[in-house]
């Protein structure tokens, strides 16, 4: 399990090696470590499981014996809890209280997986594999759609989506199909692709400049471009840290907004 793809690892300009231009295949070169039934456990799969242990483990530990006057990890974990609780209160309101565990799990599960993209021992975000955002977006989709149908009634649910109130009647000819498609079909797709594309591109960028920095590190003037590449990787790592948190936040925030829409039937 190495951070750099095998094609780039050790490839240096002084060896007459070709310039390593990582492509999407860097995501698919991790070998299967073990197999259970048809589950092929490779690095990204294992990272998902590690994320489960980290998130569940940390918060169960931090909140194992909560005290009124918080101590140690409880302080930190309470910051996390209040962050999600405030987001829920702002976007859903009082009715959103029972969705806090769902959104809390979603945010920290996604964030930890995103963070694995720059964590030195992992250097690979499982969320850069489309299956993961798709799975999460589908869970979210299968949460708010039935919720909306229950809360507004099946007809009310579709009516609220197709006919946003307060518009001149002829406009609905144009708007109704757009609203229907954008809310019911495009929404889960954009929800998952936004997270996936950000993590995928971020990882590809980091690998590209890392490989380049290594490739150009020779005892010649090329060392300057190597240093430049290294600087870029460092800056990108900082940027990634921000993007990872931001994308996890956006993913969770959109979920809160979808749930809020389903509860109230407004846009």
């Amino acid at each position: 399990m190495t951070a750099l793809p095998s094609s780039a690892w050790g490839c240096n300009i002084s060896d007459g090696c070709e310039i390593p231009a990582p492509k999407s295949d860097i995501f698919f070169e991790y070998e299967t470590l073990f197999e259970i039934w048809f589950f092929k456990f490779d690095k990204p799969m294992l990272l998902i499981l590690i994320a489960v242990v980290l998130v569940a483990g940390f918060f169960i530990f931090a909140f194992r014996k909560p005290t009124i006057v918080p101590r140690g990890t409880q302080n930190l974990a309470e910051l996390a809890y209040n962050f999600i609780r405030d987001m829920v209160q702002e976007n859903i309101g009082k009715a959103g209280e029972r969705f806090i565990p769902f959104l809390f799990s979603l945010f920290f599960f996604v964030w930890v997986m995103n963070f694995m993209g720059i964590f030195p021992l992992t250097m690979l975000p499982p969320t850069a594999y489309f299956a993961v955002p798709v799975a999460l977006a589908l869970i979210v989709y299968l949460t708010w759609v039935p919720l909306g149908m229950i809360r507004q009634g099946p007809w009310g649910f579709f009516k609220n989506i197709m006919f946003p109130p307060g518009l001149p009647k002829p406009l609905y000819i144009l708007l109704t199909p757009i609203e229907l498609i954008s809310n019911l079909l495009v929404r889960p797709f954009t929800h998952s692709v936004r997270l996936f594309a950000n993590m995928f591109a971020g990882h590809l960028l980091l690998v590209t400049f890392s490989a380049l920095a290594w490739f150009l590190a020779t005892a010649s003037l090329w060392i300057l471009t190597s240093a430049l590449s290294f600087t870029v990787v460092t800056a990108l790592t900082g940027l990634e840290l921000l993007i990872q948190a931001l994308q996890a936040y956006i993913f969770t925030l959109l979920t809160a907004v979808y749930i809020s829409d389903a509860l109230s039937g407004e846009h």
Binding site: D25, L49, I68, A131, L136
Partner: protein, 186 residues
């Protein structure tokens, strides 16, 4: 340039799956993973902290409430004390005023009593004096009259035993005597 194109052709040559492919095993693991996280947190981590935060809110609000109550109590107690103190002041002032009144009335009474006593004593003295004087006067009148009559009888040789007449003479004489010094003094 040749390096880059060869890299591209190499990448095209290796048949890597599409990045938008969703392998079923990965998908299932992701779904299961999320539900494990969700289940564990919803069951073991979050109810506890939710309860604790509610208790903390209660404790803080209860504390504020208790403090407000204690403050109100202290204020009412202070008010009570202030009232008591001002009451005591009023009472003291009233007592002082009453004492002054009492003193004044006692003095006045004493003065009045003294006045009464003085006038009683004076009146009694005067009366006594009057009585003594009139007693003296009548005694004197009798003595002087007797002596004068005796003397006159002896000188004139005639008895002037006629009491009524001699009495009138004596009275006239004495009245003359009483009038004489007053005229002389004037």
């Amino acid at each position: 340039m040749s390096i880059l194109t060869s890299a591209v052709s190499a990448a095209e040559g290796s048949e890597s799956p599409s990045v938008l492919a969703v392998p079923l095993d990965e998908f299932i693991i992701a779904v299961l993973a999320f539900f494990i996280v969700f289940g564990l947190l919803a069951k073991f981590a979050l109810p506890g902290i939710k309860k604790t935060l509610a208790e903390r809110t209660d404790a803080i609000e209860g504390g504020i409430e208790r403090a407000a109550k204690a403050e109100a109590e202290a204020q009412s107690l202070a008010e009570q004390y202030r009232e008591q103190i001002s009451g005591a002041h009023d009472e003291a002032a009233a007592i002082r005023a009453k004492a002054e009144d009492d003193a004044r009335s006692i003095v006045a009474e004493a003065r009045q009593q003294a006045e009464v006593e003085r006038s009683t004593i004076a009146a009694r003295g005067e009366a006594q004096l009057d009585a003594e004087r009139s007693q003296t006067l009548s005694a004197l009148r009798q003595d002087v009259g007797g002596m004068a009559v005796d003397l006159a009888g002896r000188i004139v040789g005639e008895s002037l035993s006629d009491d009524a007449r001699s009495q009138a003479v004596v009275d006239r004489f004495i009245a003359d005597l009483e009038a004489a010094p007053a005229e002389e003094r004037n």
